[in-house]
């Protein structure tokens, strides 16, 4: 399917009609980690919407707040994580009216989780129960969230395991008898067990070999088409997201730096950090390019500089950057009307800074001759 096709078209056949608008809408969302040494601003005023049937990629380095954002939005982030502001509006096809996840009572939250929003965690080895067989774990999930008989649950478990491309004979296996790739497939089957509207995937293939990774991602894309769920895909691997996503959101230092269609992020990245990330991947195909990487290291969230958190590593930085408010603005020159960036100075057509300027922000390289 085309990257920008209407998301509502995906897998909509034969399903109850849904209300218009995003299925999940995160607004002005902030999360801190309350530590004795002071608050650590893990997520600051993030706005992110997920349309029905859409794959949104959330990319960032470790400590950028990408996982915290997703976990806090489902309210599974534990103290010292604390939601300090914003809302998470959920409106699925089974729901009559939108709910604010941040205000749900425990019972309602229980009904929302997994049935409406499911999560695939990074480490399948730790997420599966080592003393239960695959079938028991799948049946467990199904019966916890749906009123079905044991036989129906067993049938559904077999259907699910087919769905993710594992033979039914493996239903009786225990997690340690499966390879890493198969365990991750089982996790995906679990997430899809009760037909959720939104599936959050937190680095689901990071620990896997590239061949297995590609097979699993192609399967996810297929299932998305078939079942019509929306995916929030969290990873540090931007090159992967460009192949997988409809839209991509870039996070750095707890803030959203840029969001836009995969095509626009690839062809006309507007934020210097996105440009840097794109230039950090050695490409296997096509001509060899000059690679730059990004000098310096990720920010200390306890001690963020005023203005743009990327400033110390930015080749385009100016004194005015310490005063910007990091709100997103539309990129007027972009083909995607929803393409937004937090950097008011650098646009897709801004020329690259000279190499010596690019390194100016990095004390590491300044001293080095």
């Amino acid at each position: 399917m085309a990257v920008n096709a209407s998301p509502a078209a995906a897998g909509a056949a034969g399903r109850p009609s849904r209300p218009p608008g995003p299925v999940l809408e995160i607004r002005d969302f902030s999360v801190v980690y309350r530590t004795p040494a002071g608050d650590l601003n893990a997520v600051s005023e993030v706005n992110l919407a997920l349309n029905p049937g859409e794959v949104v990629g959330l990319v960032g380095e470790s400590g950028s707040g990408k996982s915290t954002l997703a976990y806090a939005a489902c309210r599974i982030a534990r103290p010292p994580a604390l939601i300090t502001g914003g809302s998470v509006r959920y409106l699925g096809r089974r729901a009559a009216a939108p709910v604010d996840v941040t205000r749900l009572r425990p019972g309602d939250l229980q009904r929302l989780r997994w049935r409406e929003i499911a999560i695939v965690f990074q480490s399948a080895m730790n997420a599966l129960n080592p003393v239960l067989s695959v079938k028991d774990q799948l049946v467990d999930v199904i019966r916890a969230h749906m009123r079905v008989t044991g036989q129906e649950a067993t049938d559904k478990a077999a259907w699910l395991i087919d769905l993710v491309g594992i033979s039914r004979s493996r239903l009786r296996s225990y997690p340690h008898e499966l390879s890493g790739g198969m365990r991750q497939r089982v996790m995906i089957a679990m997430a899809l067990a009760v037909d959720p509207e939104v599936v959050i995937m937190d680095e689901p293939t990071t620990a896997l070999d590239v061949v297995v990774q590609r097979d699993i991602l192609a399967r996810i894309a297929e299932l998305r088409e078939e079942l019509g769920f929306a995916v929030l895909f969290i990873t540090h691997d931007l090159s992967l997201l460009l192949e997988l996503s409809d839209r991509i959101a870039v996070m750095y230092g707890g803030r959203l730096m840029e969001i836009g269609s995969a095509t626009e992020i690839h062809n006309g990245p507007a934020h210097p950090y996105t440009k840097g990330l794109l230039n950090s991947f050695p490409s296997l195909h096509g001509p060899r390019r000059e690679l730059a990487g990004i000098p310096g290291s990720p920010p200390d969230l306890r001690n963020l500089p005023p203005g743009c958190p990327f400033l110390p590593r930015c080749g385009y930085g100016t004194p005015a950057c310490t005063e910007i408010d990091m709100s997103l603005a539309h990129v007027t020159s972009s083909a995607d009307p929803e393409h937004q960036t937090a950097c008011p100075f650098v646009l897709p057509d801004t020329p690259l800074p000279q190499p010596d300027q690019a390194r100016a922000g990095n004390p590491d390289l300044q001293v080095q001759s």
């Binding site: 399917m1 490409s283 290291s297």
Partner: protein, 357 residues
């Protein structure tokens, strides 16, 4: 090695290495094998008949998926595991690790950098301690001033400057990239000839990986290091290495100059690996692709005799399933272990014939 006969073994591999242009031969692995006993009479052949050479100032990349045996090769070369058969030669001499003294001498010439900079540094010691120890051990200097000067020089070499700011720090006070720099500095403290880097950047954030690779690149040029770069990321090997060795199930299935091998892979496994790597220019491809009904290595189990890749290979026939193919030349500096190179890599082979004609 205990195997004294190693000296008479023929030089590894038929084709000359693409890394040989860079400098003199430093280290050779000759028909290295390593078996692990699993109990119940089962044996895991982690490394099977692996031969290659490392040259001063050159980077050889060893690429493979997890479980392919690439880290075992590093451990064999570092002297941490003893090979079941085969030999290692350093500067033409067979490696003898019988005594502690010999082992220490070997370690001063061959150093290993690990993947995880969080686990490889001791959390209760400062950067100074981590660097002073190898300096004292391998350089036989005990004067405090000389050691201190050396530690400062090491930190400057890995661009942790100003050095005074870093010597007193503990690992937890450093970022992942800084920690890996300390690991590099520690390896350099012995002034080695050979550096074995086992996935040196895969634990680091994407944005700093390139910088670390360019640091490694700089160090190998400056010190004429023979570098073995072990990785699962064939794209980084394309940019960083002179020669690439592709490992599958303990064997080297293909070898050749980095650019040629990645652009025209000859072995079906290398082709699968290259086709599977994320390609940022291929926008939305995964959304269009249908999931292949491919079997992974773990699904198929170990191949019993024959080519280890045959259970997954689209070209496999009866011969592949019974006879393990030897290495065939693809071009002057390339070879691949496959019976069906004419089917799998007609383009790569065509070029050779043109050149020969």
């Amino acid at each position: 090695m205990s195997d004294r006969d190693a000296i008479v073994l023929p030089p590894p591999g038929g084709a000359p290495s693409a890394a040989a242009d860079r400098g003199p031969l430093a280290m050779e692995a000759v028909s290295l094998s390593k078996d692990f006993r699993l109990g119940r009479g089962q044996t895991l052949h982690a490394v099977r008949d692996v031969s290659f050479s490392l040259y001063r100032g050159a980077v050889v990349a060893l690429v493979g998926e997890s479980g392919s045996g690439k880290s075992t090769v590093a451990k064999l070369l570092a002297g941490q595991e003893r090979p079941s058969s085969g030999a290692i030669r350093l500067d033409g001499q067979p490696v003898e690790l019988g005594t502690r003294r010999a082992f220490r001498l070997y370690k001063s010439q061959v150093q290993l950098v690990f993947q995880d900079p969080f686990a490889s540094l001791n959390p209760v010691h400062t950067v100074r301690y981590h660097l002073e120890r190898p300096v004292r051990l391998h350089r036989q200097t005990n004067s405090r001033a000389a050691v201190g000067k050396e530690v400062t020089a090491l930190l400057e070499q890995v661009r942790l400057t100003p050095a005074e700011q870093f010597v007193g720090k503990y690992p937890h006070e450093l970022s992942g990239g800084q920690r890996q720099r300390v690991s590099f500095a520690r390896a350099l403290a012995a002034r080695p000839d050979v550096l074995l880097a086992d996935e040196p950047v895969s634990m680091l954030d994407v944005s700093i990986r390139l910088e670390m690779l360019s640091l490694l690149d700089d160090l190998r040029t400056r010190f004429q290091l023979a570098l073995l770069y072990i990785t699962h990321d064939i794209a980084s090997a394309r940019y960083f290495a002179d020669e690439i060795l592709v490992m599958y199930a303990g064997q080297i299935v293909e070898r050749g100059p980095a650019e040629q091998l990645t652009q025209q892979p000859a072995h079906p496994y290398t082709q699968l690996l290259v086709a599977s790597a994320p390609d940022p220019d291929n926008l939305g491809s995964l959304l269009r692709e249908t999931a292949p009904q491919r079997q992974s290595r773990a699904d198929t189990g170990p191949a019993t005799g024959g080519c280890p890749f045959s259970p997954r290979c689209p070209f496999a026939d009866d011969r592949c399933r019974t006879e393990n193919p030897p290495s065939h030349p693809v071009s002057a500096r390339r070879s691949a272990a496959c019976w069906h190179l004419d089917l799998a890599a007609p383009i790569a082979l065509d070029r050779t014939q043109e050149r020969q004609a």
